[in-house]
Each structure stands twice: as C-alpha cells, then as structure tokens.
C-alpha cells in the first residue's frame, strides 16, 4: 500500500476560500428564490388527489373568469398531444422551423412515457393536472379551486414486488407504444431489465462451503435542499423565451422545454442562478416548463412558479426505494466465489432515470471485490407513486446497503473479522471490475484500513455499543464540458462555462484553481461567468461527481489555447521567437532575460483593441472505458469511469429502552485521486456522510394506503440537524485517476454510499439483532430487539 503525502501546487491542492463565499455570507448572492421581474405573475399547480384514475373531464372556465387570472394551462394546451397541429394554428406567435416534425407526445430520459401535465390518466397522488398564472400566489391558489376535474378511480399498485406479479394493475397499459431503445427488457410494469453475468455462478454455488442469502429494503429519501424549486420565465422582444432558474443542468432544461413545447431550442435560453442545494433533484424539470407554458399563454409576461417544499415532498424526484435479494457463495477461508442477486428499483409512475439507474445499481451491487462469478440483475419497476429519480449517487446507497450488509453477515457466519474478510476479497491495482474494466487508482484498501483504525477497530466498545464498516465504489460521470476563458485588460480572467456550482465548490474553487494554475495567474484574479445556455458552451451538468474533473480539464485545454495565443502575440510585439518565451507569473517573458516581458494585462489590452481579444477555448470529454461486452445485457452503464473507492467506519450506541441509535464516532475515508481543494473535499465527505446518516436512521417519505404521502413537511420528514450527528472525520486518500486534472477523480457523491451499511453493521453488533430495512428508526429497532428476546 503506497501512502503518499498530499503535495500542493502553486494554486491547486490548496484549501483556498471559494470565490463566491463573500456573496454567500453577506446575502448578496442571488439564488433562484431571490430572482424577480417587474410585473411578474405567479403560478400554481393543480395536482391529482388520486393515485390512479382516468380523467373524464377538465373544466377551467370558472378559473379563466377569475379577475386575477392571466393564464390557465392543461394538457390540451401543450403540444404533447396528437392534435398538435391545432395547437400550432392557435399560437402563431410561437416560432417554428420550416421542417418541424410532428411534436412528441411524451418525454423521458430513456423511455418516453411522461407528459408535462396529466392527459387522460393520472398515475400518482400529486401529479400535475393544470397550471394557473395570476397576479399573486394567493390568487393563483384560490383560482386552482375553481378548476373542476372529474375522475374515475382505477385500482392502483403501490408495491414494486407486487407490481411484478401476474395480474397486477398495469401502471402503463399502453407501454408497448412508448418510444424506447430496443432491448431494454421492458414488459408490463418492468420498464427496464438489465444484467451482469460473468463466469459460472451455478458452479460457484455448487462448490461453495457456505451460502449466505438475504433480502434488503430501503426507504424513500428526499434531496431535502433548503432552497425550494423555483423558476421565472418570460418572452422578450426577439421572441426568445428566457428561463431563470436554480438548475444543475441548464442545457437539459433547455432541451426538455424545447421538446415539450415544440419550440426550437435556439429560441429558449436558460440561465442558471445561484442554487441552494440540488443533490440531483434540480437536474430535471421543476417549475421551468410550467413557467414557460404559462408565459407563452400570458403573452410573454414574466411568470414565476414556486414549488413549495410540501409539494416537492410529494412530487419531487427522491431516491428510488429498493428491494434487493442477494446471495453469496463463499469458501470457508472467506473467499467470495460467486454472487447472485436482483435489485428492484421502484421507479414510481414514470420511468425517468429508473432504467439507467437499474444498470448503475448492478455495478454497485457487485462491489469493489474480485468475485469471479457473477449473476446480478437490476430492474426498474412502475408503481403508482411519484417519479423517483436522481439523488446523490442514485441507486448507490441502496445497492451498497444490501451488499455490505451481506458481507458482514458472511463474516458473522464464518466467524471472521469483517475488515479482514473485506481485505481478502477487495480489488487491487490492475484487477478487473465486474464487467471486465481494468481498475487503476485503486485506493480502497488504504481507505478501509484508515477508516477502521480511526474508530479503533478491534477494540471492544463495551455494552450496547458496536462498530461497523462498509466499502463501496463509484463513477466519475462522463459527458462533455466546454469553457471559454477570456483575458481582461486588467489581467483578470473570465471563466465562462455552462456549469453551475451547486455548492460543492467544483467551479468556484476547483475548476477556477485549475485554471489559475494552468494560466499562471492568481486564483483571486479568476471571475466566474454566468451559466447561460445562450452564451456559454455546453456542459453536461453538475451531476455524477463530474464537474471539477470535466470543467477542470476543459480549463486546462482553454489555458493551453490561450497560452499559445499569448506566445504568438508577445512574440510579435517583443520580436522574439516563440521558443524563447515563457508564460508565467502573469506575464510572457524572455527565458534568457525575464525583464523583457509583456504582462497578460498589456497583451489583453492590446488584443482587445487591435485583434479582437484573447479568448481561449477548451472542451473535455472523458475517454471511453473499455470492458468485456459479453458480461452485460441491456446495460446502460457498463463501466465506472475513473472510479473512486470509499470506506466508512462507525461506532454506535443503542439505547435498549427506546431503540434510539447514537453515533459516537464516524470516520469517512474517500479515494479522491488528488484533492484539488482539500477543505472542500472534506466538506463533501462530511456532507454526504450526514445524508447517509439520515438515509440510515431517520429519513423516509411514508406512503399511506391510498397512495398519499403522509409526511410531506419538514417536521415529519426528519433530516439530521447539528444535534443529530457526530463530528465526521474525513480521511482523504489519493490514488491517482487515469485522466482527471492532477489525477483527481469525482468527489461529490460517493460519501453518501457506504454510510448506511456501516451504521447497520454497527447497530447489528450493538443491538444483537440485524435490521435489513432502512431507515433503522428507533421504533423498528426497538420492535426487532423485543422480538429477538
């Protein structure tokens, strides 16, 4: 195990204060919630009270007549309808391209099964049915009550395992008609079926000394961002529809709105404002398409649509609940011979990100282990609940909970130490992953050993106390990122990208530091531009822990481009050959006589007036990761690019009287490749671990028997407060990734992955009974302890 001390560079590798901190501590920073335009109207959403019902009629006439109402929109008004031609004729003010095709009826990530507003059928309580824009929020909500909708209830299905049984109600009876890629294994309520198969599991189980098998279940965790979802839309004098919103991915909003409203994407501009937490939820539509539809209906007048937390907790994109069956074939010395399993992601009423995540889940379910024989399936299944979706490391914590609980159950069966068992089976540098990718930068053993040592693994914690560990691995999502870098005449540098800093510091620290390092300027001289689809290059979004890596590498390329322009201009002005010059310390100077120089400011000023300005451009797309295609079936995510590895270790105390779990110590180790900004890397580790604590112990959206969420408020949906968490000790491990800037790998998501399993494993030791369902609430643990007596 190579242990290297962290080596800071001039700018990179230092815990510099982020560039947007001043605005955030003074209240100057403008978030989505703070944005307003004069004359703005306010939107409200009418939602279905039924989990599954036919819409027989919608009568908006009374609402339209309300004096404060300026626009009413239902599914009939949106061109996601076969009668779209009529819509076009009714709306001559909207621009069309000459060769516009028949507009889509439905949208979706992979399976096109969703509509913006419910048409003909509602499939979950809370599904949007109609929109209103009025002169105030109060008036809009009042007017909602004037819309008359007639429903004919149908029989819903709420449990994903029940949804698989023959004769279960079909959430989408017409599923075969939906646009979807070939070979997804779709059937009835299954909207995706994916598999990893390697070696011969039958043989492994036939020759095993032990077979350990169990089922695990996880609950619904909401992103819980403290800033609600909100968007303002308006149409300007050039017929450009602008949407100001707190989004993690402006380009997805632009694309989806374009598709939904049948409007060319060039006439839609999305501006990403400051964002108060996203954690995946703000990758997808919140109020943006609603505001867009309403402003078009209201003659282009600005419309603001706010989705209050009470509604978002019923109609957001929280983490998929899961049901996992898993069994392992084990040799008596602890070697994992084979793993067989199936993870079901309950994807709710629409597929959304479910199909892609069912694939991701299978990789996490195999874990960072050398197990040679694998047969692991991932399913995304429809139920009549809200559309579950991307939440920080989506599908990861669910799969990791199952696998890492089972690993501990194996250790218990064998009488083996849980850390030793893992070390025996974990991958090492150069090993193959579950689908045959070659693994490099494998810091998992270091992470596990350091985390375990930090909580005194091996020392008896005492009565009612227990220690637990868990490991996991994750990806650095690919996708492209482009940046423009503009040198200003004062020597400052504008970093213009389509990426939003969602709070991680990936742009306002990470990428900015990488740019400053690469260009030889001071970090404080970098200015971050607005994430505006109208003027910024494409960015695949703040998702999948990709931003520092992708935007950082794009900045390095842009810096290279700019350096070349600087050398050429300085060479001309100084009458020197390019190889006699160097760029650094804010200037271009002669290597043999540094006093002969032009500062970047001087060059920028000259160029601005005489040459059109010094602007560098860079784009980064992650190189493909090779793997063995014979191992995967219907798989959307066959490899983890530049994978990271993580290990959490916790010590807990259980109160036998109440079932409450108290966290005494928590160490979270994460292999980040190279810490571009150690302070903010620690912040990600601590923040993600805290979400893992919530996922493990207290957070759960609970559905009642009629398909209604029972706790859509912040009193009853319990996220950890400062009083609920210990000081989480972040441990940074650096095992360089294959292509990230300075060896960096994705950081933002992983820390939410292994925490729940580590806690569950610790609780099992402390309480003497193992829970295989999350969250481990005090009530559940108390009952389990009593039953075990």
């Amino acid at each position: 195990m190579v242990q290297r001390a962290h080596v800071p560079q001039r700018v990179v590798g230092r815990s510099l204060p982020r560039l947007d901190a001043f605005g955030k501590v003074t209240g100057k920073a403008v978030y989505g919630m703070d944005f307003a335009l004069p004359g703005m109207l306010h939107g409200a959403v009418l939602r279905s009270p039924h989990a599954f019902a036919r819409i027989l009629s919608v009568d908006t006439s009374q609402a339209q007549a309300h004096p404060a109402v300026h626009a009413v929109v239902t599914a009939a008004d949106i061109p996601t309808d076969p009668a779209a031609a009529d819509w076009r004729e009714d709306h001559p003010e909207s621009r069309r391209m000459a060769d516009t095709e028949k507009p889509p009826t439905r949208y979706g990530d992979i399976v096109r099964d969703n509509t913006l507003l419910a048409k003909d059928v509602v499939r979950y309580v809370g599904q949007p049915v109609a929109l209103i824009a009025a002169t105030s929020e109060e008036a809009a909500r009042e007017a909602l009550r004037l819309i008359r909708v007639e429903y004919e209830p149908l029989t819903p299905v709420f449990d994903a395992e029940q949804a698989l049984e023959p004769g279960a109600p079909l959430v989408h009876p017409e599923w075969e008609k939906y646009e979807a890629p070939e070979g997804m294994g779709r059937a009835g309520n299954i909207c995706s079926r994916t598999r990893i198969r390697k070696g011969d599991v039958e043989q492994a189980f036939a020759t095993a000394d032990f077979i350990v098998e169990a089922k695990y279940h996880t609950g619904i965790q909401h992103q819980g961002h403290t800033e609600p979802r909100v968007a303002v839309a308006a149409v300007d004098g050039q017929d450009v529809l602008t949407i100001w919103t707190c989004t993690q991915l402006p380009f997805n909003i632009q694309n989806t709105v374009s598709r939904l409203l049948d409007r060319p994407s060039g006439t839609i501009r999305v501006i990403g404002l400051g964002l108060g937490g996203g954690f995946g939820s703000k990758l997808l539509l919140g109020g943006e398409a609603f505001a867009a539809a309403l402003t078009l209906r209201a003659g282009g007048r600005p419309v603001r649509v706010l989705i209050p937390p009470g509604e978002d907790l019923q109609d957001g994109y929280p983490r998929h609940p899961s049901h996992t069956w898993l069994r392992a074939a084990v040799r008596s010395d602890g070697t994992l011979l084979g793993l067989q399993g199936r993870i079901i992601l309950d994807t709710g009423a629409f597929s959304g990100s479910g199909p892609g995540l069912a694939s991701v889940a299978t990789l996490v379910l195999c874990g960072p282990y050398r197990t040679p024989n694998l047969d692991v399936e991932g399913l995304a299944v429809y139920t009549n609940k809200m559309n579950f979706g991307p939440m920080r490391a989506p599908s990861g914590p669910q799969a990791a909970f199952a696998l890492e609980s089972l690993i501990d159950e194996i250790a218990e069966r064998l009488g083996m130490d849980a850390v030793e068992l893992r070390l025996k089976n974990l991958v090492s540098e150069g090993d193959l992953g579950p689908t045959g990718q070659v693994l490099t930068g494998v810091g998992v053993r270091e992470a596990l050993q350091k985390a375990a040592a930090a909580i005194g693994w091996g020392e008896d914690p005492g009565p009612h106390r227990g220690k637990g560990v868990a490991v996991s691995w994750w990806t650095t999502t690919g996708g492209s990122s482009g940046v423009y870098v503009k040198l200003n005449p004062d020597g400052t540098v504008l970093l213009k990208s389509g990426a939003v800093d969602i709070g991680t510091g990936a742009v306002t620290a990470g990428a900015a530091q990488i740019l400053a390092e690469s260009l030889g300027v001071d970090f404080e001289d970098v200015i971050i531009g607005e994430a505006d689809t109208g003027s910024a290059p494409f960015d695949y979004g703040a998702q999948g822990s990709r931003t520092t890596v992708a935007v950082g590498r794009a900045c390095m390329k842009a810096a290279e481009d700019l350096r070349q322009q600087l050398l050429e201009l300085a060479g001309e002005l100084l009458q020197a050959p390019l190889d006699a010059l160097r760029v650094g310390e804010g200037a271009v100077y002669r290597v043999d006589d540094p006093a002969i120089r032009k500062t970047l400011a001087e060059l920028a000023e000259f160029s601005l007036e005489q040459r059109g300005g010094l602007i560098g451009r860079g784009t980064f797309i992650a190189p493909p990761t090779l793997y063995d295609e014979s191992t995967t079936t219907n798989h959307f995510y066959p490899t983890f690019h530049s994978p990271s590895f993580h290990a959490h270790a916790v010590e807990v105390e259980v109160d036998p009287e109440s079932g409450e779990v108290r966290l005494l110590r928590y160490a979270a180790a994460q292999d980040v490749g190279y810490a571009i900004n150690p302070g903010f890397v620690e912040g990600q580790i601590q923040g993600g671990a805290t979400q893992a604590i919530g996922f493990a112990l207290t957070e759960e959206l609970v559905y009642g028997p009629d398909g209604r969420v029972l706790n859509p408020n912040l009193t009853d949906y319990k996220m950890p407060t400062i009083a609920d968490v210990p000081r989480i000790e972040p441990i940074i491990v650096e095992s360089a990734g294959p292509y990230g800037p300075f060896g960096a790998k994705g950081v933002g998501e992983p820390s939410v992955l292994p925490g729940a399993a580590a806690i569950a494993n610790a609780v099992a030791r402390a309480a003497g009974v193992r829970l295989r369902q999350l969250p481990i609430t005090a009530e559940r643990l108390w009952r389990a302890m009593r039953e075990a007596l």
Binding site: S15, P17, R18, D20, A21, F22, G23, K24, V25, T26, G27, K28, A29, V30, Y31, M33, D34, Q223, G224, H225, T226, E227, P228, G274, L275, G276, G277, G278, F279, P308, P309, I502, G503, T504, G505, G679, F680, E682, G683, Q686, G687, G688, A689, T690, Q691, N713, L714, T715, M719, T721, I722, A723, V725, R727, I728
Partner: protein, 157 residues
C-alpha cells in the same frame, strides 16, 4: 383586506410601510424592502433559513408577524458587515470552508451571532444547542462548528 401602517427599524434604517396586518416579517423583507439575503423555505419555522435578529434574539421571520416588529430593532444578514469590513462570524465562515451552497448560511450566521451574544465563550454543546434550529443539508455541520468556535475566540479579543 385593509392595510395598517407599520414603522420598522431594519439594520438601523427606518421604513414606514402600509401592509396587510397578517403579513410576516419575511415576506415584507422580500417584497416591500427587496432584502433577499434572508431566505425562504419551509414557511413553518422548521428549517431556520429565515432567521433574523429582533432586539438581538434569533427569530424565524417566516412566522413572525411584521406588526410585532414595530418598535423593535431588526438585524438581517445585510446589516452585519460594517464599513470597517465583514463581521468576524462572516470572516470565519469563509476561512473555515463552512460555506457550500450557502442557502442556510445567512440564517446560520444570525443564529450564531445571537448565540455568542448570550454565550461569549460557548462550549461545543452550547454551539450545537444554539444552532439546532438551523438545517444545513450540505456541510454535515462540522466546519460550521469550527467557524463559530474560531469567531467567538476572535470576538472575545
């Protein structure tokens, strides 16, 4: 609904407004005064992003009736920094990397300022109790505790 006159002292500035009497302090800060530094979220006093000081005490402005602020001194995040510079609490939050998305930060800083006024040498337990009404989803709170500790040391001189 008829409006009533209310005279407010916000960050040392006086505002005479006519508002409907049921209005909350938060909604007036945002709509009439354009002071959006104080944040809005749950509107039911559960998350603390709306925390301001009224006569030095931390209150959830989302449920605080604006009429009740008459005759009292209200301090929002915009009123912390002076011409001399940022408040030590603001500087500490920057220096200790306690700011991520930042949405909870104005409320968190105001609660911390109220805490220190009451406990100039707070123990970690007192810091935890003082900030227990401020939800943060990003940081895991550790660096916030470090920042508050460091600021209180500086403020003690």
């Amino acid at each position: 609904m008829s409006r009533r006159v209310v005279s407010l002292d916000i960050n040392g500035h006086r505002y005479d407004l006519e508002v409907e009497p049921h209005r909350t302090l938060l909604s007036v800060l945002h709509q009439e005064l354009g002071l959006t530094g104080t944040k809005q979220n749950c509107l039911e006093a559960e998350c603390g992003v709306c925390t301001v000081l009224v006569d030095g005490e931390a209150v959830n402005s989302c449920i605080y009736p604006v009429m009740k602020a008459q005759g009292r001194q209200v301090t929002t995040i915009e009123g912390l920094a002076t011409k001399a510079g940022l408040h030590p609490m603001q500087r500490a939050f920057i220096a200790y990397d306690a700011v991520q998305c930042g949405y909870c930060i104005p409320g968190m800083i105001m609660s911390a300022v109220a805490l220190v006024a009451e406990h100039p040498e707070p123990t970690e337990q007192e810091i935890v109790e003082g900030l227990a009404g401020n939800l943060c989803r990003c940081t895991g709170y550790a660096k916030i505790i470090e920042a508050v500790s460091a600021a209180t040391e500086e403020m003690r001189g």
